[in-house]
């Protein structure tokens, strides 16, 4: 299949070279349908994805809505200086990093473990049932998940408290949702509950692609189940693991704010406020658009730096690159 495709492409390239003499516009005209099918969307992407980047200029102004670009007052780095001297900013940064690192460590290793264990299941019906069920929460909104988590952890009738009391681990219901220090953990565990099965798909696919002969050979050499997992499965999916790890690192800081916003409450705000929420509250809630934008820029710069860093490290240890 691949060779047929390649042949077609080389053919196309030859054709292209021939056409080059006829010039860009001639091909443009002959391909006008293709252009008509894609250019409107290029314009569309420009408006919705590229124009907002222009909005970054707001961070260097005292932006007032309704004025034109040239009538804005330019203030240089004032907003960034204000940002770096604000205590709440560092709190938000701490929370963001804490939750993203927790999410990275747990949310990355558990799906691998799950995929490996699932792969050891031989009954295909059981396997499929586990898969169908564990994928389900991925399709449910965070609004629903936050509602469910709150319900499960609630002090009246929440199953977690009821079970803990039944087995006498605690005497009276524990207020999970009111403990600042518990918030990071609750977010991480909720995330695992929601995404574990889904995130395992990619690893399952990678495991399925491994050569069965490797397992046979290991078995002949006398390797047990655990040793086969350790010496065959895990090394076999290492490239996939690395790619997913790098992609996750790239998204470290941009963890979003949905979970934090929906699971958080006024009692745990010191632990639940992440950079995006901070930007949202200041930028839109209080109408400080310039300050909010400065937070957003900081967020992006850190994300991109982390991505390049991770990619650089990755390149050093393997010959692949994700970018």
């Amino acid at each position: 299949m691949e060779t047929v495709k390649e042949k077609a492409i080389t053919k196309m390239n030859l054709q292209k070279k021939k056409d080059k003499k006829n010039g860009f516009w001639k091909i443009f005209l002959s391909q006008k349908t293709l252009y008509m099918m894609s250019l409107p969307f290029v314009a569309w992407v420009f408006v919705f994805n590229y124009l907002p980047v222009w909005g970054w200029t707001m961070a260097f102004q005292n932006f007032r809505p309704g004025r034109s670009f040239f009538e804005q007052e330019w203030v240089g780095l004032d907003h960034f200086i204000a940002l770096f001297t604000d205590e709440r900013f560092f709190m938000a940064l701490r929370n963001t990093l804490a939750m993203s690192f927790l999410g990275l460590i747990v949310g990355f290793t558990i799906p691998i473990l799950f995929a490996v264990l699932l792969n050891e299941v031989r009954h295909s019906l059981f396997k499929r049932t586990v898969q169908t069920i564990t994928y389900l929460p991925h399709f449910v909104s965070w609004v629903v998940v936050a509602g469910i988590v709150t319900k499960m952890l609630s002090i009246d009738g929440g199953i977690v408290n009821d079970l803990l009391m039944k087995f006498s681990f605690i005497d009276k219901p524990f207020q999970f949702m009111a403990q600042g220090t518990w918030f990071w953990g609750i977010v991480t565990v909720s995330d695992i509950w929601k995404e574990m099965g889904w995130n395992a798909i990619i690893f399952l696919a990678a495991i399925a692609g491994l050569d069965p002969q490797l397992y046979e050979a290991a078995k002949v050499d006398g390797a047990g189940r655990l040793r086969r997992i350790w010496h065959v499965t895990l090394p076999g999916i290492r490239p996939t693991i690395l790619v997913v790890l790098i992609l996750n690192i790239g998204h470290l800081v941009s963890i979003g704010f949905e979970k934090q916003m929906l699971l958080g409450n006024s009692l745990v705000v010191d632990y639940s406020e992440v950079l995006d929420l901070y930007a949202l509250n200041y930028g839109i809630g209080l109408g400080q658009f310039s300050y909010g934008t400065a937070i957003g820029i900081f967020n992006s710069v850190v994300s991109i730096t982390l991505l390049f860093l991770a990619n650089g490290i990755f390149k050093r240890y393997s010959n692949q690159s994700v970018m």
């Binding site: 391909q31 894609s38 590229y50 389900l136 609004v143 199953i159 809630g285 934008t293």
Partner: protein, 304 residues
């Protein structure tokens, strides 16, 4: 492979591993399913009786009244209709647009291919961020309009890549012969490529539809003052979130109105009934599309 393995006699250690593994996975299934089951039974239980607590896997006083009750909430009905509308319109337009772009990018002879694909892929690595995005929507006059649900998220580079890699696998001779019969590129796309792409399009349609159905933040940000444009998830968020929004008070948007006040005292069973209404449509659809999206994800894994 599976049958070969089964032929070799299992050792004691292997059996032990199996027992532990199966129990572990069973526990995971229970932990995943139980919260949904609990929500379901509470929604089916008499709402005054629910307050007594202790309802776990079976309703104590079975009733459908909670579901009848929530049909009386005007906002919920509007929200439901809007959620269905945005899901249907957003999915149809989104999948069609993304497939069309993917088609032009899959054509090796298309001279705009490289530029357009770079232009799209770049959007995966950066964005203007929350505030500039908000200002843009405001300046475009899309606040308080239904289109804010459809237009900003119409084209996703990631989806286009997935569709395109599927199209790359189709034989090009199909297009050539159609061209010889005098079909233009759009006809080729619409009549030949689209029908062949059904599996991948079903996957993408599911992703887009779920995203649309589950979305609440755009309502919160842009349409929270317009009761006619509310969505189901947003209404559920307001109802479930009677206490937790305190830390993130949004001066403009979180003004509690009379109805929100009423929501704050909604009994547990009613809340759970509303939760079920937002979950059921997905539960009904997704098992049917499951095999498609596993294919899709696998493809993505290979292409990475």
């Amino acid at each position: 492979m599976a049958s070969k393995r089964a032929m070799i006699k299992l050792t004691k250690k292997d059996r032990m591993f199996d027992i532990l593994n199966y129990s572990f996975l069973t526990i995971i299934m229970i932990v995943t399913l139980y919260p949904f089951l609990n929500v379901l039974v509470i929604s089916l239980n008499d709402s005054t009786d629910t307050i007594r607590g202790g309802i776990y896997i079976w309703p104590r006083e079975f009733t459908l009244n909670n579901y009848l009750e929530i049909m009386k909430y005007d906002n919920l009905v509007t929200g439901f209709v809007n959620s269905v509308l945005r899901t249907v319109i957003g999915t149809v337009l989104g999948v069609f647009a993304q497939a069309m772009i993917a088609f032009t990018l899959s054509r090796a002879d298309f001279q705009g291919r490289k530029f357009i694909s770079t232009f799209l892929v770049l959007t995966m690595y950066f964005s203007g961020g929350l505030i500039p995005g908000y200002m843009l929507i405001r300046d475009l006059g899309m606040m308080n309009s239904f289109w804010v649900y459809i237009l900003p998220g119409l084209v996703s580079a990631f989806n286009i890549i997935i569709i395109r890699s599927f199209m790359d696998g189709l034989p090009f001779s199909l297009q050539e012969s159609a061209k010889m019969d005098g079909a233009n590129d759009f006809t080729i796309f619409y009549r030949i490529i689209l029908p062949l792409c059904k599996p991948v399009l079903a996957t993408i349609a599911l992703f887009v539809a779920v995203g649309q159905w589950n979305s609440w933040f755009d309502t919160y940000l842009y349409n929270s003052l317009n009761e006619n444009l509310t969505t189901l998830q947003y209404e559920l968020m307001k109802i479930l979130d009677n206490t937790s929004m305190g830390g993130n008070v949004n001066a403009n948007q979180m003004r509690p109105n009379a109805e929100q006040q009423a929501n704050m005292v909604s009994p547990e069973s009613i809340k759970m009934a509303i939760t079920m209404v937002t979950v059921i449509p997905i539960m009904l659809v997704y098992p049917f599309v499951q095999r498609f999206f596993i294919q899709g994800m696998t493809l993505g894994a290979v292409k990475q």
